[in-house]
Every structure is written in C-alpha cells, then in structure tokens.
C-alpha cells in the first residue's frame, strides 16, 4: 500500500533516476519533499533546515553506483543521518551498583511524569529492585493521591509527607526512608513546571543538588510541537538531565520533537511510554523512531530496500555468480531470506520506485516464499549446489521433509531452471547487468 507521501516522493525521485550523479538541481525537489515530511512531523524549523543542509552536502557529487538509483542513495543518506541524530543505539538506564539508585523526573505540566514514574517503578521492580516512589508534586491538586493509588496498584511503597509543601525536604527525607527500609531504588516524581517559571526551575535544581540523582530524566509529550527546543534547552541549562523519556507514543504523533531535542541537547532517549497500562514501557530504538518520523514505514521500506541493495559485497558476489552461471539454490535461498527480512513481498514490491503504483492491487502471496524456503532447506548441500541431481526419489524425500507436495517441489525446480535460463540470456545480451530486480521473482 502506498500513501500519498510515498507517491509524492516517488514522483520527486523519478526526476533523478537514470542520472549518474547527484547534483543540486536533481535533488532539490526530493529535499523539499523531505523538508515537508520533517515539518509535518513537528521537527523544529531550524533543525529541519540544518538537517536538509547536511543531507544535501553528503549527497552532492556522489556517484550513483551500480544497482542503486539516486533516489535510493539519497533516501539512505537521509535515514542514516536521522538514526545518527537520534542516537545510534538504545541506551539503558544507569543504576548505582552498590548503593541507592535515585531517579528524578522533571518536565512540563501534563507531560506524563506521574504515570511514567509508576511504569518505571514496575519495570524496575520486575528487575528485582526494591523500589520507592516519592510524591514530590505538592502543587497539583490530588497529585499525591494519584501516585499513592498507582503505587498500591503495583505494590510499590509511596513516600509522601502530606503536611509538607516543600518538595526539597520531601525528596531528601525519602532517601533516609529508603535506606532505613532496605530499599535500593528511589523514583522522585516532581511537579510539572514551565521552563520560563524561574522560581520553579530553581526549585527543581535545588532538589537535584540535594538528592544528587543517579539519573535525572526529562519527560516529554511526543505530541509537542516547535517549542520543544525552547523547553528542552531551558531544562538542560537550568536543571540538566541525563536522558529523555518520550510519552504518549501509543497515539499517532510522528514525534519529530525528539529530533529537535536531540539536536539541541546531546542526551539519549532512555524510554518510550505508550499507553496508560502500567506495563506499557519500552526502550528506545532510534531506527524505529526514524521510521516513525519519516511516516508510517513507507519511506522506510524504501530505505530498507536501498540498504539491502547496499550490501555491496553480497551483491557483487551474486552478480559474479550470475555472470558465471553459478547461481544455485543456496543463493536463491539467501535471496529469499533477504526479501523476508525486508518485510512482505507485496509491500516490498510496492516500494520500488516506478513500479509501486502499478502493482498496488496485484496479488502477491507471501506464503509462497515460506514454501520455497522450506523446500530448499530440506535439500542437502549437494542438491542445492547442483539441482540437476534431483531425481524422483530425492524430490519425494524433500517434499515429505518440508511438509509440501511433490508438485510444489517440481514447480520450484522448474522455476529455478527457467530463471537460470533467463540469466544465461541476459548474460549473452549485455556484458553487464544489475542484480535481478524483484520483478523477476515470480513465485507462482
């Protein structure tokens, strides 16, 4: 399935397909389209601008190598750049190995701190930690009760001094309480505050100074718009934090604000919170986030395809085998595995620029891939390398071993032979050719 966005990109990319080199003029439309994608995803204006500039720099003058279209090349550059900006790998929460681990949560009002603190408590409790939740939001009506109720739902004690209106005292006292009661992890839920509220920002800094948290986490609503840069910058400068938590990710926000935040503050994203159930917590995966920002996976599939094509060594190997007519069933299996890794066959076909819109309604059966895979896997090494030896009794054995009919096996072998035939012809016609396009994989 293609959405509007992919179609637009396809159109933009078409202009540069078939041109050998990436130039300023042949990528300008693509870059404009990418800019639109980023802005629609709420990436900050300035961050998007810098990002596009960087991608442009990296793309210009690049030779478009064999088997990759310029469009694919740019998409790959964009994706890689995005993943890098998002922080390359997922980053775990740091703990204090011998002593008290303290985690302080800060953020704007309504960003989801209290819900997240309970989720984190549950997560750490499941990791055999003895957790204490601390109710340090003394401002919002009933904030303390909310935490107490959540704590009781997950069987985690909640520390609160109901008669105190001083979050600093409450936080400091909670550490004593934890030590006295054999608890090793303290999660401090502070009140939401605006980054322009000096008094409140100083208060947060004070709590931090007194508690000296192992980790301070900045909790951000994933639906945040352009202003994310301002709040993140202020929280970073006035309080500082070790990591970011992205909440309400069960919605359909594209979450571009995280790109803005990462561009402003070099702090990793530690958790993603999705849903109101107390176990809906995930670690952060930059590649998934990149996909989300680019939009619903369509462009990403394009990117993945580009990346697969980028496995140049493998591509060269295979090309050599084709050319020398040494392509065997083992190589065929390798290719099928590659296709499977990239997602469903139909969606994959849909992503290929140019043919995407044509096969929108074509009937492509992914199950066939599994059949083919299982059949080849039931063959011996010898048989895979030299299908000619596959006589009747071997075929029967393979059919039984793979749980398919003998007709399935016959069909596969016939198709493979046809493919080899085709390769031979192609080799004769042109001295050089690209990796077989997915179009050639007619499985039925």
């Amino acid at each position: 399935m293609l959405d509007e966005l992919t179609e637009k990109l396809e159109k933009a990319l078409k202009k540069i397909t078939g041109q050998g080199k990436i130039t300023e003029s042949n990528i300008s439309e693509t870059l404009r389209e990418i800019r639109r994608v980023l802005l629609d995803a709420d990436v900050n204006y300035k961050v998007a601008k810098d990002f596009i500039e960087k991608v442009k720099e990296k793309s210009l003058g690049q030779e478009v190598i064999n088997s990759v279209t310029p469009g694919q090349l740019i998409t790959k550059i964009i994706y890689d750049e995005l993943v890098e900006l998002l922080g390359n790998q997922s980053s775990e929460l740091e703990v204090n190995p011998n002593g008290l681990t303290t985690i302080m949560l800060i953020g704007l009002q309504g960003s989801g701190k209290t819900t997240f603190s309970a989720k984190l408590a549950k997560y750490l409790k499941n990791k055999k930690q003895n957790v204490l939740l601390v109710a340090a939001d003394v401002y919002r009506p009933a904030a303390r009760s909310q935490l107490k109720i959540l704590g009781s739902q997950i069987n985690v004690p909640v520390f609160s001094i109901d008669e105190s209106n001083d979050p600093v005292t409450i936080s400091v006292e909670s550490l004593k309480y934890a030590k006295e009661n054999g608890l090793n992890t303290v999660i401090i839920d502070t009140a939401g505050r605006l980054h322009v509220d000096d008094e409140m920002m100083i208060e947060a800094a004070k709590i931090k100074e007194r508690v000296k948290p192992t980790q301070t986490l900045f909790v951000v609503d994933s639906m945040t718009g352009q202003d994310a840069v301002n709040s993140a910058k202020a929280f970073h400068e006035k309080v500082d934090f070790d990591g970011v938590v992205l909440t309400k990710m069960d919605g359909d926000s594209r979450g571009g604000c995280i790109l803005s935040i990462r561009a402003i503050v070099d702090r990793p994203v530690k958790f993603v919170s999705l849903g109101e159930k107390l176990d809906s917590l995930e670690l952060f995966y930059p590649d998934r986030m990149a996909s989300r920002i680019l939009g619903k996976g369509d462009i990403v599939s394009l990117v993945e395809k580009a990346q697969a094509q980028f496995d140049e060594k493998e591509a060269e190997d295979l090309e050599k085998k084709f050319r020398e007519n040494k392509f065997d069933l083992d190589d065929f299996l390798k290719q099928i595995k590659m296709i499977k890794k990239m997602g469903s066959l139909k969606s994959l076909l849909g992503m290929i620029p140019g043919i995407g819109s044509q096969i929108k309604n074509a009937d492509v059966d992914d199950k066939q891939l599994i059949v083919v895979e299982s059949i080849i896997q039931s063959m011996t090494k010898q048989e895979r390398a030299n299908p000619k030896i596959l006589n009747g009794s071997r075929r029967k054995r393979i059919a039984r071993g793979s749980g398919n009919t003998i007709q399935d096996v016959n069909r596969l072998i016939k198709q493979f032979e046809q493919m080899q035939q085709m390769m031979k012809m192609l080799n004769k016609n042109s001295g050089k050719f690209n990796l077989p396009n997915m179009k050639n994989f007619r499985i039925n």
Binding site: Y45, L108, R140, S145, I149, L194, V196, G251
Partner: protein, 297 residues
C-alpha cells in the same frame, strides 16, 4: 477586559518581540523576505501547509511599501480567516447549559474546568460539576479540590461508569435549577477506539436526556504546546462527537498555539478561551483581534 488584554499581552510579549524584530529585519533589506515570515509562522506551529497558504495569499493581495503596510495586511489576513464568533462562550443564564469537556491526556481539562467555573461564577451562574473521569487515579479528588475552591457542588460516583454519572448529573442539574453543568471526562488519545466510543456514549446519554430548553456544548481542550498532531486530535474527536469550540491551554510558556489557530480556521470553529496558568483566574476569553495584535504589534 483590560486586565485580560494586559495579561494576554504579557503572555505574548516574547512572541511579539520576536516577530517585531523579525519584521524589522525584513524591512531592513527594504525587500520583504517571505522566508523570514515563513520561519516565524512555522515556529509558532502554524504548520507548513497553512503557512504556505498565508504567504501565498499575502503575496497576491498586497504590495507593501513599508512595515506598517505589511503588518496591517498580515493582521487583516489572519483576522479574516479566524472565526470571530466566540459568542458561544457567552451563555444564557436563564437556561441550563451543559458543557462536555474532552481532550487527550494531560491537555488541561480538569484545571480548565476549575478556571471556567471561576469565570462563570463571576457572571452569576449557579454551577454543577460532574466527575466522569473514573479512570485516572485520583482524578475525582483533583476535581473535588477545584469544586471546593470554587464552592460548587460536584456529582461523583466511583462505582458507576462515566455515562451513568453524566446521566445522574444532568438529572440533578435539571431538578435543582442549575444554570451550567460541566462534565469532566477522562483524557483519551484519539487513536483509542474503545475510549472514543465511551466518550460517544456519554455524549449520547446527555443528548437523550435533554430537551430544546437545554443547550449542550462540546469543547475540545488542546495543549498549546502541541504540534501538528493537534489536527489529528481534532479530526478523530469530531468523528465521534460534535465539537462546538476549542480551548488552548498552557500559553503561559513560550509556545504560541498556532496549531489550534490553524484548526479553528480550517474547520471554522471558534476558539473560546486561552489557559495561561494554573491558578483559577489564569483564563482569558479569546479575542481574535487581541490575539493577533499581541502576535504582531
């Protein structure tokens, strides 16, 4: 009204200076740089499509000689686009009005009800509040604290589902001659079908239990920090319940609420109030002229 104006002006002082100096610099080159204007609008969460539309129209409709001209054209254009009908917020005290408040989690629904109650009490209304957020821990208690602060009665029943509480509240409001009933609902993401259906159910129950003497309104609360996802919030919520008006919260920070402005324009819906803090009087009635002036003057 003057206090409100000042409050609003203060709130937007930063934005104003920003835009002012940007426009100054635009005219520094004597040539109008629409790229700068684009940046200003984008940064305020107006969204690319809407921003491009404004710029295109501005290019078409005017030829500018000086800063004042440019300013006026922009102001005039924005003012023309926004639905100026915020009379929805001027309620008839001689009949019962029921206002259902909804929005995504943490957008500021409960706090806004606290502030709205304070606002309408000052206009002489007798107000009842229904606590239909039976989901969030201690939500009831939070609303109750606001009710105590405002000295209003609250209908609550933990053991019942939200629709039943709403039904109960409507009955009480009718019997005890209230002028205004606020229904506080649980925050819900617009992508959660079940919760959206629950909201629809509350809505239906209320609609069924009223007659033409009672006015029922649905107000969507949107966090002023939200970006383009606010569009989807509006779209999805309006698939399940009719939306009569919008309220933007948290405009006491540095965000501008442009995404909601854009929604109001595209769907011809009034923006009724702006939330500018957590205290009971941190609410101003939306005045398009003031709003745009504060942005551009």
């Amino acid at each position: 009204m003057n206090i409100f104006k000042n409050l609003l002006k203060e709130t937007f002082a930063k934005t104003k200076d920003n835009i002012k100096s940007s426009i100054k610099s635009i005219f520094g080159d004597t040539k109008i740089n629409f790229e700068d204007l684009e940046e200003i609008l984008l940064k305020s969460d107006f969204g690319l499509e809407f921003t491009e539309q404004i710029i295109n129209e501005l290019k078409k409709t005017s030829n500018f000689n000086d800063e004042k001209d440019f300013n006026n054209s922009l102001k005039y254009l924005l003012l023309n686009k926004i639905n100026k009908n915020n009379s929805n917020a001027d309620l008839d005290i001689n009949k019962l009005t029921i206002i259902q408040i909804f929005g995504v989690n943490g957008s500021g629904k409960t706090t806004t009800i606290g502030k709205l109650t304070n606002y309408y009490i000052s206009k002489g209304f007798k107000i009842l509040i229904a606590s239909c957020d039976t989901f969030r821990a201690a939500a009831n208690e939070q609303l109750k604290k606001w009710a105590t602060l405002n000295e209003t009665k609250i209908i609550e029943d933990f053991s019942k589902d939200p629709a039943s509480v709403a039904f109960e509240a409507v009955k009480t409001a009718k019997n005890e001659k209230y002028n205004l009933l606020f229904i506080d609902t649980a925050g819900r993401l617009h992508t959660n079908k079940n919760l959206m259906l629950e909201l629809q159910k509350i809505d239906n129950v209320i609609t069924k239990s009223i007659d033409e003497n009672i006015l029922k309104l649905n107000w969507l609360i949107v966090d002023g920090n939200s970006g383009q996802n606010a569009n989807k919030q509006y779209e999805e919520f309006s698939k399940f319940v009719k939306i009569d008006g919008l309220i933007i919260t948290k405009l006491d920070g540095t965000s501008k609420g442009g995404s909601v402005f854009q929604i109001a324009v595209n769907n011809n819906k009034p923006i009724l109030f702006l939330g500018i803090g957590e205290k009971k009087d941190n609410l101003v009635k939306f005045n398009p002229e003031d709003y745009i002036n504060s942005l551009l003057e």
